[in-house]
């Protein structure tokens, strides 16, 4: 029996079957191709996704490294900031110390200046035993060192029942010539009686025509006279520290210089210096 005779192998059926097989195969391969295409596309997507993830991973690694670097930098910045603060503090301390030294240097300059004034004044005051020269030195001290424009030197004169004060040297204040002041009368007499300096505010005293300063000249326990300042030089508006030191020096040394010169004048002649020392 042939296939043609077999009902199960009917040619038409065979043809149909072949066609179906062809169709199936075609469909199968087409779907296979489509699936392959789809797989390839998905593979491409995955590849791209992997590439992107790798790139992202690299970025993250870099960022991590960068974060570490930033952390290091921040630590360094903090250290530098602390160092800067420390240096700043050191600089501030040094500036303070420098200012302190500058102030001390200025203070020493002032003191040296005062000492120079006092040394020169004292030296000159005791450099002569001539009464007129002693008065001239006092005058120079008052004009050149203190800045007095008008002044008078009063000396004590014994007079019953109380001593009086009379001017023996007048500088630019002729109105004082011939004046006699009672002991303990007014600022001049009181300065002599109390042996305490009288110092007024220059502007007020000058405005009222009163003495600005009355400096008693003290020898031993007694006041032998008073130096009276009536007016200061135009550029001198007030007394300064050195003036008060000079007043002390005048109070203590001018009297001794005047008394010494007076005693020598009473001797009548000036002894030979070397011989007089040899007899000591």
């Amino acid at each position: 029996m042939t296939a043609k005779d077999d009902p199960k192998t009917d040619p038409d059926d065979f043809l149909n079957l072949a066609a179906k097989r062809e169709e199936f195969l075609e469909t199968f391969f087409r779907k296979g191709a489509e699936l392959t295409d789809q797989l390839l596309q998905e593979l491409q997507v995955f590849r791209e996704r992997i590439a992107a993830l790798e790139e992202e991973n690299n970025d993250l690694r870099l960022q991590l490294a960068s974060d570490d670097a930033i952390r290091d930098l921040l630590t360094r910045v903090r250290e530098l900031e602390e160092e800067r603060q420390s240096l700043r503090q050191s600089t501030t301390d040094m500036v303070g110390e420098h200012n302190n030294y500058t102030a001390r240097f200025a203070e020493m300059e002032r003191e040296l200046d005062q000492m120079a004034n006092l040394y020169v004044a004292s030296f000159q005051l005791h450099a002569t035993l001539d009464a007129a020269e002693v008065l001239s030195v006092i005058e120079q001290m008052l004009v050149q060192f203190i800045g007095a424009a008008e002044f008078a030197i009063f000396l004590r004169r014994e007079h019953a029942p109380h001593p009086v004060l009379q001017p023996v040297h007048v500088f630019h204040c002729d109105r004082i010539r011939g004046v006699t002041i009672d002991w303990n009368d007014g600022p001049i007499g009181e300065a002599a009686a109390t042996q305490v300096n009288y110092i007024a505010a220059p502007a007020d005293a000058q405005r009222h025509g009163l003495p600005i300063a009355c400096i008693p000249m003290i020898f031993g326990r007694d006041a032998i006279g008073v130096i009276v300042i009536y007016k200061l030089l135009e550029q001198k508006t007030d007394f300064v520290d050195i003036d008060f030191e000079l007043f002390k020096l005048l109070a203590q040394h001018s009297a001794a210089a005047i008394v010494g010169a007076g005693l020598l004048a009473r001797c009548g002649n000036v002894p030979d210096s070397l011989n007089s020392f040899a007899s000591l």
Binding site: E109, R110, L112, D113, A116, N117, Y119, V120, A121, F123, Q124, V137, Q140, M141, V143, Q144, F145, I146, G147, A149, L233, E234, Q235, K236, I242
Partner: protein, 125 residues
């Protein structure tokens, strides 16, 4: 060794001594002293000076006449001159500066002020 020489013309021995004392604190500065303007001119003609400090009120020849003379002197006409005086009026200062003084300081003096001005006139740092 002195680099500069200064002539101090002042009739008051006290003030002269004080000025010399102050100038002694400037290194390399020699000081020559004169009693008045005429003495100052004599000392000037006998030497070479870098600075003259003078008072105004002095016997025989005052400081302003001395300034005038120095400004016409062939050798010292360019020497800086500093006035140290009791004359504090503005017109006195103006007159001295017009005559050729370079600096004007009034008494009573303060040593730091004098030292500073001398250094300035001599260009000493």
């Amino acid at each position: 060794m002195a680099q500069y020489t200064c002539l101090v013309v002042e009739d008051s021995p006290m003030m002269r001594q004080l000025i010399v004392f102050a100038l002694g604190r400037i290194r390399h500065l020699d000081v020559v002293e004169a009693d008045d303007g005429v003495d100052g001119l004599k000392k000037l003609s006998a030497g070479k000076f870098d600075l003259v400090i003078t008072d105004i009120n002095m016997p025989i020849m005052d400081g302003l006449k001395l300034v005038k003379r120095i400004r016409t002197d062939a050798v010292h006409r360019d020497v800086p001159i500093m006035i140290i005086t009791t004359e504090g009026a503005a017109e006195d200062r103006q007159r001295a500066l017009q005559l050729g003084a370079n600096a004007y300081i009034t008494k009573p003096i303060q040593a730091p002020q004098v030292i500073s001005k001398v250094k300035e006139l001599l260009n000493i740092p």
